[in-house]
């Protein structure tokens, strides 16, 4: 990835701490991270080090105790809640470990839901296109309960890409899947990210998976260090 491309995420001197009965607990302090547009970045680290918290700060879901985060040059934390939500829905997508599909909607309806919410007229065509791309064309009318775990995650990926996001956050996307299915899912994620020029931020504890990203960072004891492949 060329370092001349604009920054998708620019986190400066990021700190997060919590107050507890034993005093202030600092999760991390003065973290700096720059991710370029179209880049894929993995954040690895053992459980409890704050990977998910870092993801929530980078996606502007949570506010840092200190420091700033800009997404594509925009400081979301200075925005009103409503504006922030709107910006996020147009530019960011998430893929979660536990799929989170709405049980009463079919695969197609689940996929077209974000476009429907945004009021797109061609939501159905778009959704069909992405379901076809993830290999679920014959199963578009099936409900989540009728799909396997891998298939559900594929619907979730189609749903994530249907809005053509510039940023995709994936939190342990293969955590609930077996290795083979997980590999297929990762394949799809990388493939689509590359095709759509989306920036992919992957949270995982699987080094093998992380190594497929352009860059890899290790979050350990509050420090973020880049792992040179």
């Amino acid at each position: 990835m060329q370092l001349t491309t604009p920054l998708a995420i620019d986190a400066q001197r990021l700190s997060k701490s919590f107050s507890s009965t034993d005093g202030e607990i600092s999760l991390f302090k003065d973290l700096n991270l720059q991710i370029h547009k179209g880049e894929s970045v993995a954040i690895i680290g053992p459980s409890g080090t704050g990977k998910s918290t870092l993801l929530s700060l980078l996606a502007c879901l949570d506010t840092p105790t200190d420091g700033t985060v800009s997404l594509a040059g925009v400081d979301l934390n200075s925005m009103q809640q409503q504006q922030k939500a709107q910006w996020r829905s147009k530019n960011i997508s998430f893929v979660f470990q536990s799929f989170h599909l709405l049980p009463e909607l079919s695969a197609l309806e689940n996929t077209q839901l974000p476009l429907d919410i945004q009021g797109h007229a061609d939501s159905e065509q778009q959704a069909k296109h992405w379901l076809e791309a993830v290999g679920l064309a014959p199963r578009i009318s099936h409900f989540p309960a009728q799909l396997s775990g891998g298939e559900q995650q594929r619907v979730a990926i189609a749903r994530a890409f249907v809005t053509a996001p510039s940023l995709l956050f994936a939190d342990e996307p293969t955590g609930n899947l077996d290795t083979k299915t997980g590999d297929n899912i990762i394949e799809l994620l990388f493939d689509f990210s590359a095709k759509t020029q989306a920036t992919l931020i992957l949270i995982t504890h699987d080094v093998h998976l992380a190594s497929r990203c352009d860059r890899m960072f290790n979050l350990l004891e509050g420090q973020l260090t880049e792992v040179i492949k």
Partner: protein
């Protein structure tokens, strides 16, 4: 269709498969069904009662007087846009076929009556008797041996008997209305020469029309009433009080209040569980770009749709059940008034209000939920202060609506909340103490102790809510039983079904011997008529306050008697009854109204002579005993020199009915009153009321069970998770089930015992405050409530818990 609406409609359909939503809807349905049934039935009972009362009086407002009523009163009523008519009623001898019978004559003019209808044979629909004719009761015809078309003499006038009176409103009060009745035209009254100045008669001005004008006229006349005048509004609460039907109506309202509370608690808990389960879903929708407003619209639509189905269905079923009861009631309340729109829509609107007031504070936070919820499993839901405050306020509003008093509502809400809080706190401590006692006796005690620590918040809530609700349900059950017992107690078996009055002293011995040959047991009471005119040597005008002076008993002649020993239906509550010390015993309510105490001296005028006697005792009288009862009972000798008649009551068994005809033939001057009809009607009312009360009770119990189910479902997930964990650590399915059962048993016994204490207290308060019943202990409560609570807790708990196989455990733990 917009995506929000589309998603909402999908969500609405799919959520019906969720147990938390189903419980919420079931609670809503039960609440609306019960509240609709109870509100409509109670309203219909009440309005039928007032209507019936008006029809018995023949008018909405009656001015009664012992003197002629001034013309201006009549004109005032007409000027107020009301209908008015005058009635003169007096007792006179009717003569025919060379026989005489003492009769009560009503002289009326058109229009008459203003409410209700006079039923005659042959039927007559156009008002009052034609000129030179009268209508008379069948008993008069049979006593005089007359037929329709024969002549009947009243005073100097001769009339033709044109109709037989079957039933008529405005019969008058007291024993006068038990004489055979005659209706004549008032324009022919003077010619009879019966009423001379000073003759005893009752003059009435009947008024009818719209309530606001009636009330205004009542207010206007109230201050102008003179001695011997009384104003009665048919819709006045006093007319309706202390009546089985009004008690039933009040019982229904109280049951409705309980249903409302049960429903509100169940709805609140189901909503909490529901909203807690909706957190992830809301976070997902927000992450997909939905705005909090759109989210709120979806959930509001879901609530409204749920309300439309559950509440409207509930209202429909409630109305259907009400119709079933109404059909039963139609036998004893013939005038089934139409249901008011207000009584039909109260329940569904109340349900909607409850759903939104309780629902919005639970669902609003979902719009603010962080998408972080998707990353971290943070399922703790904390209710806001506003939430709890709104719940308390809602309780207050609901109770205010039903009680019609804010102060009373405040007291009841405060009482219920503090009772719940204390009960919960107490239960938790009792359970811990009980478990300590089980230490070493039951192998599961260590696990049970852990369970208690982990469930302590739930136990406090469950025990608080359940103890109070169980107590209230027990109260409803026992009040129902007490009411039925009271109603049935009013008509003891073999109680007198006939009264005989106007028995002259010279007929007394002959009558007694005739009755003993007929094997009729009867006690004769002497009657002397007198009027209270002085208290402690002062005229009643100066001795009493203006309000006290209004007491009805002061404005008419009272029936006085003397007795050696007070009869059974009297119980002395102050002073003593000693027949050797000259004095008078006064009925307690009259003494209360006049502010009289033992030692005060009552002055009465009897036949123009003054009789003064000190009050030596105050008595409570069972007025419903169907025996002769008296406001004043004198010691013997004081009354003996006055002119007197006798009264008696006795029971003629069904198969010996002919004895009443024999009696009337043998003693033509005696007035015989057959109260068997009144009896049968009363018995039928009681049976029907008891049936209705049982139905209400059953429905309330179902509601209570549903509420318990909701409470137990609240921590079901936690319970199953813990069970699964224990089983994977080596405990057997049987052991985890035993642990649950042990916990439920402890909860049941404790809640039941606390509920028994609370119920006994509430019963005592309510007996005195609402139903005018004597306070009594209910030993059945002490064993039945703990037993019922234990069975219910264990049964429903087991049902909710379900079976937990080892395979289930792994799935459960993996998903957590």
């Amino acid at each position: 269709m917009s995506p929000v609406w589309r998603l909402a409609s999908r969500q609405i359909r799919s959520q019906w498969r969720r147990s938390d939503w189903l419980t919420l809807m079931l609670s809503l349905f039960m609440m609306t069904t019960l509240v609709t049934l109870l509100t409509t039935t109670s309203d219909r009972l009440y309005s039928s009662l007032t209507q019936q009362s008006a029809e018995i009086m023949g008018a909405d407002l009656v001015l009664r007087s012992q003197q002629r009523i001034a013309e201006d009163k009549y004109q005032q009523a007409l000027a107020a846009g009301l209908q008015a008519t005058r009635v003169t009623q007096f007792i006179s001898m009717a003569e025919g076929n060379e026989n005489n019978v003492l009769s009560t004559v009503r002289a009326v003019s058109s229009p008459y009556p203003l409410l209700g209808v006079i039923k005659t044979e042959p039927p007559e629909h156009s008002g009052i008797p034609e000129k030179d004719t009268v209508w008379a009761d069948k008993s008069l015809l049979s006593r005089l041996g007359l037929n329709l078309g024969d002549s009947l003499f009243l005073g100097y006038s001769e009339f033709k008997l044109s109709r037989i009176l079957i039933d008529s409103p405005d019969r008058g009060t007291g024993f006068a209305n038990f004489n055979p009745q005659i209706i004549m035209r008032s324009d022919q009254l003077e010619a009879t020469g019966i009423l001379a100045p000073g003759s005893r008669a009752n003059f009435r001005l009947l008024v009818s029309g719209e309530q606001p004008q009636i009330i205004a006229l009542q207010q206007q006349w109230k201050s102008t009433l003179v001695k011997g005048q009384r104003l009665i509004n048919a819709r006045d609460d006093r007319q309706l009080n202390n009546n089985s039907v009004s008690n039933a109506s009040r019982y229904l309202k109280l049951s409705a209040l309980l249903s409302l509370l049960l429903g509100a608690v169940a709805i609140l808990l189901s909503l909490q569980r529901y909203s807690s389960d909706q957190r992830t879903r809301s976070a997902l929708l927000l992450s997909l770009g939905m705005t909090p407003r759109q989210l709120l619209i979806i959930y509001s639509m879901q609530l409204v749709s749920g309300w439309l189905i559950a509440a409207l269905l509930g209202t429909g079923i409630g109305l259907f059940l009400h119709q079933l009861i109404a059909v039963q009631m139609s036998e004893f309340i013939p005038h089934i008034s139409d249901l008011s729109i207000a009584s039909i829509i109260t329940s569904p609107l109340l349900a909607l209000a409850i759903l939104f007031i309780l629902g919005l504070p639970t669902l609003l936070p979902l719009g603010k939920i962080s998408i972080l919820q998707m990353l971290r499993k943070d399922s703790s839901v904390t209710g806001s202060r506003w939430h709890y405050l709104s719940c308390a306020l809602l309780l207050l509003v609901a109770i205010s609506l039903y009680m019609g008093s804010v102060l009373l509502a405040l007291v009841i809400t405060g009482l219920l909340l503090s009772l719940g809080w204390i009960a919960g706190f107490l239960a938790q401590h009792i359970i811990v103490a009980l478990v300590k006692r089980l230490q070493g006796r039951i192998a599961l005690t260590p696990l049970l102790k852990l369970r208690l620590r982990q469930q302590r918040h739930w136990h406090r809530l469950q025990a608080g809510v359940f103890s109070v609700l169980l107590a209230i349900m027990a109260v409803l059950f026992f009040v129902r039983n007490d009411l039925i017992e009271q109603w049935q107690g009013q008509i003891p078996k073999d109680s007198p079904n006939h009264f005989a009055i106007n028995i002259q002293p010279w007929e007394k011995d002959r009558l007694q011997s005739w009755m003993s040959t007929q094997q009729l047991a009867a006690k004769l009471y002497p009657i002397v008529r007198g009027r209270i005119i002085a208290i402690n040597q002062q005229s009643i005008g100066s001795a009493l306050s203006k309000e006290q002076a209004q007491t009805h008993a002061l404005h008419r002649e009272l029936n006085l008697t003397w007795q050696q020993q007070l009869s059974d239906q009297n119980s002395v509550i102050a002073g003593t009854w000693n027949p050797d010390i000259a004095g008078v015993s006064i009925e307690s309510r009259l003494s209360e109204n006049l502010g009289l105490e033992v030692g005060d001296v009552l002055g009465l005028t009897i036949g123009g002579q003054l009789l003064e006697a000190p009050i030596t005792s105050i008595r409570q009288v069972n007025w419903e005993s169907f025996k002769p009862n008296f406001f004043l009972i004198y010691t013997p000798k004081l009354l003996e020199q006055y002119p007197l008649t006798y009264i008696t009551s006795f029971n003629i068994p069904e198969q010996q009915r002919q004895k009443s005809t024999l009696l009337v033939r043998a003693f033509p001057t005696i007035t015989l009153i057959d109260i068997d009809k009144i009896f049968k009607q009363a018995q039928s009312i009681i049976a029907k009321l008891a049936d209705s009360a049982t139905l209400v009770m059953l429905l309330t119990i179902i509601s209570g069970m549903l509420m318990l189910l909701t409470i137990l479902q609240q921590e079901l997930a936690q319970r199953r998770y813990e069970g699964a964990l224990l089983q994977t650590l080596g405990a057997s399915e049987r052991q985890t089930r035993q642990l649950d059962i042990l916990e439920f048993c402890l909860l049941g016994i404790t809640c039941g015992s606390i509920a028994a204490v609370v119920a006994e207290l509430l019963l005592a308060i309510m007996s005195v405050r609402f139903f005018d019943l004597p306070v009594s202990a209910h030993p059945m409560l002490w064993w039945s409530l703990p037993l019922i609570a234990t069975i219910t807790f264990t049964g429903i708990g087991n049902l909710v818990r379900g079976k937990l196989t080892l395979a289930d455990c792994y799935t459960l733990l993996k998903a957590s």
